[in-house]
Symmetry: C2
Subunit: 171 residues, 2 copies
């Protein structure tokens, strides 16, 4: 199994245009997109039609770090700065996040959950954990840890490439 899959991947990454869509199903990018679709479906069906995964990521950081600011929130949630700004605005509109000015630096806005925001977080967190159980239930515990570890390394490397930004070859 391991050897076969490695051989398939070698073929895929050999810079030869794939002629068979079977190859497509071994492409990490294609599988990541489909995994994202699966996650989106399960989120809507099992977690919330109302709170998005992105909003939940932001709320999770604010719940754990009351008084965090937009820059720290962006870094910890893995959202880019403009997305973070838009998400915060939406969470404020919904009455889930409150803003205070930093007495030491009036330009700095400190974010915290309102009681309603905390209630939403508590409810969604339980549902999200339950959905995650369901999504990974076909994998053994050790395999789940392996998937998390491999994805985390791919993401960390990809975000480094992104930060390198303009040095990357462009189309």
């Amino acid at each position: 199994m391991g050897t076969l899959a490695a051989a398939t991947l070698d073929r895929v990454t050999a810079q030869v245009p794939p002629s068979d869509p079977e190859d497509m199903h071994s492409r990490p990018g294609h599988l990541i997109r489909r995994a994202q679709q699966v996650h989106g479906y399960l989120w809507t069906a099992m977690v919330s039609k109302d709170v998005t995964p992105t909003q939940f990521s932001a709320i999770t950081v604010i719940a754990a770090r009351p008084g965090t600011d937009q820059i720290a929130l962006s870094r910890e949630s893995g959202l880019d700065t403009s997305t973070t700004g838009a998400v915060i605005q939406r969470l404020i509109q919904r009455g889930w996040v409150a803003v205070d000015r930093d007495p030491k630096d009036m330009r700095r806005k400190l974010l915290s959950l309102t009681p309603e925001g905390q209630r939403v977080f508590d409810e969604v967190a339980v549902r999200a954990a339950s959905m995650t159980d369901r999504m990974v239930e076909s994998l053994e515990l050790g395999e789940r840890a392996q998937l998390v570890s491999l994805l985390a390394r791919l993401v960390a490397h990809g975000e480094t490439l992104r930060e390198a930004g303009d040095e990357a070859p462009t189309a």
Copy 2:
């Protein structure tokens, strides 16, 4: 490493609301979303600003199976039916996909690439393979195969849950 990661995952999936955003970074759903962001960034930077990953998936299937129809394309590309219809319309508008009626069933539309569509496919396929190399370069070959295998199993299970549809618990 394996044991530590397994312990982290146990904690995450134990249906206890995470109080620390560190836990968030061990959630498969969160990592899948960030991996999708990385892929989107690398696609735009290294493959194409013009052809989307979804369009490329559709083109890949049509290139390998000239005369395929919308239903088969939807199944093979992992796109849902309405997305597939919209993608095909767009590819026809761009002059990359041609439609013929099936002489045996005039309601059935057979899809194939135009010469320009084939040229786009050949060019994008090489760039996409090169981008994939870059995206996974921090993983050993065996680890890439492991990631592909684990994601494929997660996706297959998730799509089974999706097909089960209304039987899934809803929010």
